[in-house]
């Protein structure tokens, strides 16, 4: 059986025509959707006003769908585990090759700013656009800058595993305390007064959950980036 892909001009034109056809049909269907569609978000926005969180997306991710977010960071953990198992086997010492001078100096200048911005996005996730996932990825990008500028830099595995374990355990603990004190998993047991909406200390457990998610995502992304860089260096 031959898997060669010698694409002829007939295939190209057929592909273009069929994609145009699908586009047209889809557009006709979507133009005829009734104007007033029942939205699930209406009731959720009303519920959200009682939680004292200014950003409704944050309260959906970290509170109403908090159990799903626990599963999501579990998926991220499994992916990081798989990448570590695939790439860190028989890993040799990396090349001792000096990187660019401009990159070395600029990374020392930029790294604290990037970390500060990541922590800001993480902590203010319940007041402004942003949150744990975004802040964690920004922190991992700062780690990537250090890794590509300094060949000898390596994030110690003990630190990453300690942070990751702390974050995962505290997520589950916050949920279980909510189950014991309130009536459900991830119940909002801390005071969440509506009059304090917009302050940093508002929203009860929701900022705590998102900061924990940010720590976990940041450490896992840093581990993924480090594994990819260190493995692709040796040969």
């Amino acid at each position: 059986m031959n898997f060669k892909r010698d694409v002829s001009i007939r295939t190209y034109s057929g592909f273009a025509l069929s994609s145009l056809l699908v586009l047209t049909i889809l557009n006709i269907i979507l133009q005829n959707i009734p104007d007033k569609v029942e939205r699930a978000g209406e009731q959720l926005l009303e519920l959200n006003a009682q939680e004292g969180v200014a950003n409704a997306v944050t309260s959906v991710v970290a509170y109403f769908r908090g159990f799903d977010t626990l599963g999501e960071i579990a998926v991220l953990f499994v992916a990081a585990l798989g990448i570590g198992m695939m790439l860190s086997s028989n890993c040799k010492a990396p090349h001792k090759e000096e990187s660019n001078f401009i990159l070395q100096k600029a990374s020392k200048l930029l790294f604290p700013v990037i970390m500060l911005f990541g922590v800001y996005v993480m902590i203010y996730g319940h007041l402004s656009p942003g949150g744990g996932f975004q802040g964690g990825v920004i922190i991992a990008s700062g780690m990537l800058l250090l890794l590509i500028s300094d060949q000898n830099f390596e994030i110690p595995h003990s630190v990453i595993s300690a942070l990751e374990t702390f974050a995962g355990i505290s997520y589950v603990l916050i949920g279980l305390i909510g189950l014991l004190v309130m009536d459900r998993f991830l119940g909002n047991f801390l005071p969440h007064d509506i009059s304090e909406m917009g302050m940093l200390l508002s929203g009860g457990i929701i900022p705590l959950v998102y900061i924990v998610v940010g720590i976990k995502v940041g450490s896992e992304m840093s581990l993924i980036v480090q594994n990819l860089i260190k493995r692709s260096e040796d040969d």
Binding site: S19, V22, L23, L26, L30, L44, L45, A49, E72, L228
Partner: protein, 130 residues
């Protein structure tokens, strides 16, 4: 002339058509790359482009230009006349999962290349086909 064009662009039907046609065109660009390329990293990139098209499709179809973003501040004091926050949360989940799957696939590709020196999917015949 320009004002007429801007009024045309600001209509609901125009926005819907642009979102649908644009995102689906991006989807078919990704599908085309997936079907015609043989380098494995290019295939992963094509899958990522298809994913991004689906995200744009979701977010664009739940967007209503009369409503604001679901965040208080900048003059908003109550949760009324806001866009639906659920699609945003769903797409946030989907972006993270897609990134994790993409990184895992790239790590498989790197390890396969280190072992065999092949990147062309036509030459991957360890099971004895072809």
């Amino acid at each position: 002339m320009i004002e007429t064009f801007l009024t045309y662009l600001n209509q609901d039907s125009t926005i819907t058509a642009m979102v649908n046609i644009g995102s689906m065109t991006l989807f078919f660009i990704g599908l085309f790359g997936l079907l015609t390329h043989r380098h494995i990293l290019r295939i992963f990139i094509s899958i990522s482009i298809m994913e991004i098209a689906i995200f744009l499709f979701f977010i664009g179809n739940t967007f209503d230009k009369r409503f604001t973003a679901p965040i208080l501040g900048d003059g908003n004091t109550a949760f009324v006349a806001m866009n639906d926050p659920i699609p945003h949360a769903m797409i946030l989940t989907a972006i993270v999962i897609g990134m994790a799957v993409f990184a895992l696939g790239i790590s498989f590709a790197i390890e396969y290349y280190k072992l065999t020196g092949k990147t062309d999917i036509n030459e991957m015949n360890e099971l004895g086909e072809s």
